[in-house]
């Protein structure tokens, strides 16, 4: 068992022990003075258990976060200067990982004596750290226990203490959404700024050439690298447009039929089927595009004398369209059902047919809701990754012809950032810059869509 597992088990056992000790302590206190406890014995018990468990867990987490880097720094500082002078960050990381590998016995060729010495030092520190961790955990749990123990009295308000801790935990949990957003924004902004230090902003935003294949090592033969993202943006827009052209009419008409024409029997079959379509993972759609749609289209093109590439943007667009049909349909469904019944009844009472009621009354009234839904769908298509990664191309063509191959923002992010990545070259960092653009675009679409939908709801509420 690793020291971390042992430490975790110690915390667990001591927390449970703390619960029972707290309970008996509270009962004894009550028995000794013959007064009523302010809080229930189980609340005293929980109070003591929390005082044992929380400091223990927090110490364990902090320790885990810091241990490896601290040990590596100590080991590195102890290595003779002949080996470490003038190393870049990447070389430093390489040396350290060599030491760690030697420590774990993963040796491919006889390591240098300094490295072996470093590995020995590293191993000694790791085992010391393990012992120290266990000692520290035991100490802090005991300290928490004795503090909590000393607080438990007949009049002690254990319930308030426990409830305050619970509230604090709940507030912390609800803040995670904010932390996540901040984390996303900060990580994207920092890497994007580093990217723009290497590639000028105007070249990225207005350049017409996207050729990110740069030399990662000095001896590699590759182009200079061009980071003009316009073809990537137009490719993304092209595929998103195709998919909306497929999905909006089909989804809208399906919703109209389901809301106004279909009887319950049809609805009970079609709605779950639509949900099934919505629940299929996107990687499945991607494989469907490669397996069925692309060969069919290429063959059809061949039949009319067109020589189509297998990665033509029409394939990705069509399949993405199929993917968002259920989304459009359910958003339109909600929007149409939300129109007050009086409008519909009024129209029917004037002698309009069902069709006229829909096109002349319901649809105009539901339009803001439908537009909001389409905007949300557009944001989904911009950020959709797996379908385009599998079915669209890698080469950035500046074209609006759906019969040619284009690439998209998400494809390029995946292409730039899969595999082992170092964060010191524009190729990797361009993935973050593209991600930042994508994040901003989808965020604005979402905000626009939500505000349209909200305004429209207020109109009828």
């Amino acid at each position: 068992m690793s020291p971390v597992t042992i430490a975790f088990l110690i915390i667990l056992v001591m927390t449970v022990a703390g619960y029972f000790i707290g309970k008996s302590r509270a009962l004894h206190a009550a028995g000794a003075t013959n007064e009523r406890l302010h809080s229930l014995p189980s609340q005293h018990a929980a109070y003591l258990a929390l005082w044992v468990g929380i400091p223990g867990i927090m110490l364990l987490l902090v320790w885990l976060l810091l241990q490896e880097t601290t040990i590596q720094n100590i080991v590195f500082a102890a290595i003779p200067g002949t080996l470490t002078d003038g190393l870049t960050d990447a070389q430093r990381a390489l040396l350290i990982s060599e030491i760690v590998n030697v420590h774990h016995g993963r040796v491919f060729q006889a390591p240098r004596p300094e490295v072996v010495e470093g590995a020995r030092h590293y191993g000694a520190l790791v085992s010391t750290a393990g012992t120290a961790l266990i000692a520290a955990i035991v100490a802090i749990c005991c300290a928490g226990m004795s503090w909590g123990w000393s607080r438990i009295k007949v009049h002690f308000r254990a319930r308030h203490g426990v409830e305050r801790i619970m509230s604090g935990f709940m507030i912390l949990c609800s803040m995670i959404a904010i932390f996540t957003t901040i984390g996303i924004v900060l990580s994207l902004v920092f890497e994007t700024i580093r990217f723009f230090q290497m590639v000028p902003v105007h070249e990225f935003l207005f350049g017409l050439r996207w050729e990110p294949q740069i030399a990662l090592r000095a001896d590699q033969v590759a182009g200079q690298g061009a980071f003009g993202a316009v073809p990537v943006f137009t490719g993304t827009l092209l595929i998103a447009t195709i998919s909306l052209c497929v999905a909006v009419p089909i989804g809208l008409f399906a919703a109209i039929y389901l809301v106004e024409f279909a009887d319950d029997r049809v609805r009970n079959v079609v709605k779950p089927a639509m949900e099934l379509l919505a629940g299929i993972p996107t990687v499945v759609y991607g494989f469907f595009a490669v397996l069925v749609v692309s060969p069919v289209l290429v063959q059809a093109g061949g039949a009319v004398g067109l020589d189509l590439p297998p990665t033509l943007s029409l394939v990705a667009g069509l399949v993405m369209g199929i993917m968002i049909i259920p989304f459009i349909s359910s958003m339109s469904d909600d929007a149409i059902t939300a129109v007050p019944r009086s409008l519909k009844d009024g129209s029917l009472a004037m002698g309009a047919t069902k069709g006229e009621t829909i096109t002349k009354v319901l649809l105009p009234a539901a339009l803001p809701g439908i537009v909001g839904g389409v905007l949300l769908a557009a944001s989904k298509t911009l950020g959709e990754t797996m379908i385009v990664v599998m079915a669209a191309g890698l080469i950035a063509n500046l074209t609006f012809n759906p019969l040619e191959g284009v690439t998209t923002v998400t494809v390029q992010i995946v292409a730039m950032l899969t595999g082992d990545t170092e964060f010191d070259n524009p190729k990797t960092l361009s993935g973050f810059a593209l991600g930042f653009v994508l994040f901003l675009a989808t965020l604005m679409l979402n905000i626009a869509a939500l505000s349209i939908v909200r305004k429209y709801r207020e109109q009828y509420d």
Binding site: T180, L188, I256, G279, I280, V284, T442, L443
Partner: protein, 429 residues
């Protein structure tokens, strides 16, 4: 008579014109209905084509063609000191070639030995490792045939096609037919698909690693997002004052639900891997990332479930002297639990199919053994599908479809469970 009523009188409600108008209006009505109907038929037809094509390409990989023959475990090739590195390939080769003594050595024998999979020697190694006493005796083993013969047996590619258009040549077909006529060829259920990990050879590749990785990932996701989601939802629904802070939190949650999944991958790459130095490709990191994406779903579902508990319950508990926390923990939360569970399972079902962020944290690694913990490199079902879909071998196409069918099976199972729980436990107040 007024002007208006004279107009009314002039209007012929029963004339040819009116009838034509009425007809046109009804035709428009019918047209709209037909458009709607055809849209639905089209959408469901596409769903049927999608599922149909997956089943058509995938069902065949649930069986695997095996060849059964006797192997002489030759002590000469067996290395007493180091049984693991013994020359099992030669044992298999000698024994298999003995089935066709008429085949001359050289390229013909090489073509013949293409029939059994490379996995045969691994299987023999397992048998010998389990029972070293078989050395020196002859044992009967059943091993997978290699991918091209598996495809041939399953009828991929006609045997009437030109020889160079096939992956097996005429001589190999004759040998294979002889094996089949001797009853040495069988097609049992493909257990390899479930009890071995990935491999370069389609006939040896399985989903065990991916299923184990998915399990660990979902475990981490659940352990993190379930308590955190419930705690956040309780705070926002029951305790939070109406102020700017809670507004910001709510806006954040709604926006996070719509952030593209790949952006979460970028977050994980920059924060979890670069800043915290957590291991690449590990289910721990994948689970943390997916947990962040699942949180909004769970929070929204939990809030709806909490809202559905009638206020009378709260008032009754408060009335007999319970504290606000006690009301929620003892009464509201248990009553809301079915709704929360349903929402969580649906969130997990979404999480199981998530692929894009996992590519960025390296969970599409080539792993030939299942991982044993949340810190080991692993793949998941969707990333395995992505890896296989990228592989050029014909056998992987069928296996990709099979993997997708397995993934969809898990999805159905989870959604079915959610529906069952909802029906079974939901209370109407």
């Amino acid at each position: 008579m007024t002007e208006g009523s004279s107009n009314f009188a002039r209007h012929d409600w029963d004339g040819a014109d009116a009838r034509r108008r009425l007809k046109r209006r009804y035709a428009a009505n019918t047209r709209l209905k037909l458009y709607g109907l055809s849209a639905i038929v089209l959408a469901l037809g596409l769903l049927a084509v999608l599922l149909g094509s997956l089943v058509m390409t995938g069902y065949k990989s649930f069986v695997q063609t095996h060849v059964t023959f006797d192997v002489y475990v030759n002590p000469e090739n067996y290395d007493q000191a180091n049984p693991f590195d013994s020359d099992y390939r030669t044992m298999i080769r000698d024994s298999f070639l003995k089935l066709f003594p008429e085949v001359p050595p050289g390229p013909q024998q090489r073509q013949l030995f293409d029939i059994p999979s490379t996995g045969a020697q691994l299987k023999l190694r397992e048998i010998v490792a389990a029972d070293p006493s078989v050395v020196g005796s002859t044992i009967r083993i059943s091993v997978p045939v290699s991918d091209e013969f598996d495809q041939f047996q399953k009828g991929e590619g006609s045997r009437d096609a030109a020889e160079d258009a096939r992956r097996v040549n005429d001589r190999q077909i004759v040998w294979f037919d002889k094996l089949a006529a001797d009853g040495k060829i069988s097609t049992p259920f493909n257990w390899t698909l479930f009890n071995s990990a990935d491999s370069r050879f389609p006939e040896l590749a399985g989903l065990k690693g991916a299923i184990v990785g998915t399990f660990y990932l979902l475990l981490v996701t659940f352990v993190l997002s379930f308590p955190i989601g419930i705690a956040a939802a309780i705070y926002l629904e029951e305790f939070a004052p109406k102020n700017k802070w809670t507004d910001i939190i709510e806006i954040n949650i709604n926006n996070l639900a719509a952030v593209p999944s790949i952006v979460f991958g970028l977050l994980a790459l920059a924060v979890f891997l670069q800043t915290f130095g957590l291991p690449r490709s590990a289910p721990l990191v994948g689970g943390m990332t997916i947990a962040l994406m699942t949180l909004p779903t769970i929070i929204i579902a939990t809030r709806a479930a909490l809202k559905a508990v009638p206020p009378s319950i709260r008032e009754a508990a408060l009335g007999v002297g319970a504290s606000k926390h006690q009301v929620i923990i003892h009464h509201v939360l248990p009553l809301a639990m079915p709704g929360i569970l349903t929402g969580t399972i649906i969130g997990m079902a979404h999480a199981i199919g998530e692929t894009a962020p996992l590519l960025l944290i390296g969970m599409n690694a080539f792993m030939t053994s299942a991982s044993v913990g949340i810190l080991d490199p692993a793949t998941t079902l969707p990333t395995q599908i992505y890896i296989w879909a990228d592989s050029p071998e014909r056998g992987f196409v069928a296996r990709t479809s099979a993997a997708i069918l397995v993934l969809l099976g898990f999805l159905m199972l989870m959604n079915g469970l959610a529906i069952y729980l909802r029906r079974r436990l939901e209370r109407k107040w």
